[in-house]
């Protein structure tokens, strides 16, 4: 498979919340740690909180209780209260991959649907870049790549090996 030629349909998710568009944007970005499911993190030292720095070029990262930080990506677009675009730079081993060519992108749009009602549309696209990176790094069918990620995820779900994941 030539991963360069592969295009993967983006992941689309939509949620409608009972809040103003300003509040929805503010909670999503400014209080990211308050709602992000703490099961989804990468630092083996554990998870304390995650942050989005409120500016183009800002970091998207998590912090462990011991103060160590792991990057997830970078802010590509910062347009409060309507739109934010982040790079997702976690590879198949669920580690930060600094190569921008391997970065997929997460775009979140906030659209007012009433005085206190906001639709949030999330698109996680350019996934072929991440798969290309994973395939390149691990070799297709290897123990690494997305299989490694999914295995860790399965362990997490089962609660079998929480210490190894953090």
């Amino acid at each position: 498979m030539n991963t360069q030629d592969l295009t993967i349909p983006a992941v689309n998710r939509t949620v409608t919340v009972n809040a103003t568009v300003e509040r929805a944007f503010s909670v999503f970005t400014g209080s990211f740690a308050a709602w992000w499911p703490d099961a989804h993190h990468i630092n083996p030292n554990g998870y304390e909180a995650a942050f989005i720095e409120p500016r183009v070029g800002g970091r998207w990262y998590e912090r462990a209780p011991d103060g160590t930080e792991c990057d997830w990506g970078t802010v590509l677009a910062w347009e409060p209260p309507h739109r934010v675009v982040l790079t997702w730079q976690l590879n198949g081993e669920f580690e930060y991959d600094p190569d921008p060519d391997h970065a997929s992108e997460v775009e979140i749009r906030f659209t007012s649907e009433g005085p206190s009602r906001t639709r949030v549309d999330l698109v996680h696209g350019k996934l072929e870049r991440a798969v290309g990176a994973a395939a390149l790094a691990a070799g297709i069918g290897g123990e690494g790549g997305w299989n490694g990620l999914l295995r860790r995820y399965a362990e997490l779900i089962d609660g079998r090996d929480l210490t190894a994941i953090g």
Binding site: M1, L6, I8, P9, V11, R13, T14, V15, V17, N18, A19, T20, E22, R23, A24, F25, S26, V27, F28, G30, S31, A34, W35, W36, P37, A39, H40, P54, P80, P81, G92, S116, V120, L122, H124, L127, A130, V131, A134, A135, I140, G141, G142, G145, W146, N147, L149, L150, R151, Y153, A154, E155, I157, D158
Partner: protein, 105 residues
């Protein structure tokens, strides 16, 4: 690629997650999970059609594993992460009392 809908079924999701931990045969899956062998086979067929798992013959047995090219698996995984995350986001944004626009700049 209908990986997302396929994983909406809790039993199917469990089978998929179990296979993510390592390749298994139908019999081994049925032994580990509270699901009959024919039901496991049926779920595996759906997972295979969705591109989430692949199978191969080893002697007389058929071994199933998460699709190693990972395309559908990646999508399904990310879809699940964002589904969980947005549900938690909705809860947070709606539970925190009245609108507070002070934080917004």
């Amino acid at each position: 690629m209908e990986a997302l809908g396929v994983l909406g079924d809790p039993t199917r999701r469990t089978i998929f997650e179990t296979l993510a931990a390592g390749p298994l045969s139908v019999g081994e899956l049925a032994k580990r999970l509270p699901v009959s062998r024919p039901a496991v086979s049926q779920h595996l067929r759906a997972l295979k059609e969705a591109g989430l798992v692949t199978d191969r013959s080893v002697g007389t047995r058929r071994i199933y594993q998460v699709d190693p090219t990972g395309v559908a698996a990646l999508r399904a995984y990310l879809d699940q992460i964002w589904g969980d995350a947005l549900a938690a986001f909705k809860e947070a944004v709606e539970s925190d009392g009245p609108d507070d626009e002070r934080k917004h700049t």
